[in-house]
């Protein structure tokens, strides 16, 4: 007898029954549409147990490795504990171990978790100022390289959390974090594939993590990073990135400024436009897009039309306005 645990209840799975049918029959609020494993409406995640491979067909690699599955075509032979994608975050306290400005508006925040947090570079966590006020920040750290979590927090106008992080938060203080979430990260495999990373502002945070993760895992194909800001003062980690480019012949770093004449070593224009000028064909390339939501959405579409496969486009659009 196979059992499906969902929320506080455990349901025995009927013969030939899918996880979706089992849950819906008992009144569990799982959304669904096609019931054929294609529309991905009934996407769930196995918090315990391993979903059968068949139930992961068509999912992005980064979802597969996190045990996401399609409930309508999931016929497990072992017990599973299932959750909807937004239900799996757990809360952990973390102590601030470092706060250093990376430039005039972005703060590097290092956090030491009180319990081990399993994450992938490029995922994000929610950091809470108080139990009801939290914001999402991407992880720039790489689990196998960095002992603590690293965030790059850009100060938003009237930002209730970012302003507090910049002005009031102190080293040694403990905060509540929740996560990780997100599927914008490097998945080993196809090591010779070309990778293009495009980011604006603090969108560099996840890209910096993804880049170092890919290099660390021996990615051998070309990796190109286009990081953009309006002006030179908005760029950061330029020294570290240039060092990485010197150490790894397959990595190439292109800092871009769109609002002023570029100084030597910088490209003039918006990061994604420069990237599309230099990389004309996106066929068989893996693409990571992080930062301003308009840039992310425009670049996603353009890369797809330029031949990128939907499954090879990973994106993390940032909130750029202060939430009310």
């Amino acid at each position: 007898m196979t059992n499906i645990k969902y929320g506080r209840d455990t349901y025995p799975l009927g013969k030939d029954q899918s996880v979706l049918d089992c849950l819906v029959e008992r009144g569990a609020p799982v959304p669904f549409s096609c019931r054929s494993g294609v529309c991905q409406t009934c996407l769930m995640r196995a918090v315990r147990g391993v979903p059968p491979e068949v139930s992961q067909r068509g999912l992005k690699d980064s979802l597969k490795v996190q045990n996401y599955f399609l409930a309508c075509v999931c016929h497990p032979t072992e017990d599973l504990e299932a959750a909807l994608p937004h239900e799996v975050l757990s809360s952990v306290p973390a102590t601030v171990t470092a706060l250093e400005p990376l430039n005039g508006e972005i703060m590097h925040v290092a956090l030491e978790c009180h319990a081990p947090l399993e994450y992938r570079a490029g995922q994000f966590i929610n950091l809470f100022r108080d139990p009801t006020l939290g914001r999402s920040y991407s992880l720039a750290s790489v689990p196998q390289q960095d002992a603590h979590l690293h965030l790059h927090v850009r100060r938003l106008p009237q930002g209730k959390v970012s302003g507090w992080i910049h002005e009031e938060l102190r080293t040694g203080q403990t905060v509540e974090i929740r996560g990780p979430s997100g599927d914008c990260f490097y998945v080993p495999g196809r090591p010779a594939q070309e990778i293009v990373l495009i980011g604006t502002g603090s969108g560099l945070a996840p890209l910096y993590g993804i880049l170092r993760d890919a290099l660390d895992r021996g990615h051998s194909g070309p990796i190109r990073l286009f990081h953009g800001s309006r002006n030179r003062a908005g760029l950061y980690l330029t020294g570290e990135l240039r060092d990485l480019a010197r150490e790894h012949s397959n990595f190439d770093y292109v800092p871009c400024v769109s609002g002023e004449e570029p100084a030597p070593g910088l490209a003039g224009g918006r990061a994604h436009e420069i990237a599309f000028r230099e990389v004309a064909d996106f066929k068989d390339k893996r693409l990571f897009l992080c930062g301003h939501p308009e840039m992310v959405s425009a670049a996603k579409k353009r890369a797809f039309l330029a031949g990128a496969a939907m499954k090879d486009i990973y994106a993390d659009p940032f909130n750029v306005n202060a939430a009310p």
Binding site: S36, V38, C39, F304
Partner: protein, 134 residues
Amino acid sequence: MTEKKLADWWTESHASLYAKLGGEAAVNAAVDIFYRKVLADPRINRFFEGVDMEKQAAKQKAFLTMAFGGPHNYTGMDMRRGHAHLVQQGLNDSHFDAVMEHLGATMKELNVPDELIAQAAAIAESTRNDVLGR
């Protein structure tokens, strides 16, 4: 015919087409090509403005699975509900024709024999009135 029976009939009578085309692998090969054509078409791409591209790609995959006669549980009612907001924005026969054109061109690009293209087109065509809310 009731909706449930309609779906069953569809699955049974078109399962062989799906198999002939290569099943899920054929759908996987077609989805990006088809969706790229749809997004690049100025006649219809305004209907896709501002939608989550990834979710939309999954819907395109579901559409192709149905058009290829593969397993699906869509009913006329789903089709109506799913497209009602687009009908309000002016979705009409000319837009439906454009999608049909891309379906045919995608299959041609994948070297599908004309006879099978015609069968898939007939399945997609049979949803026209539901999609357009008539």
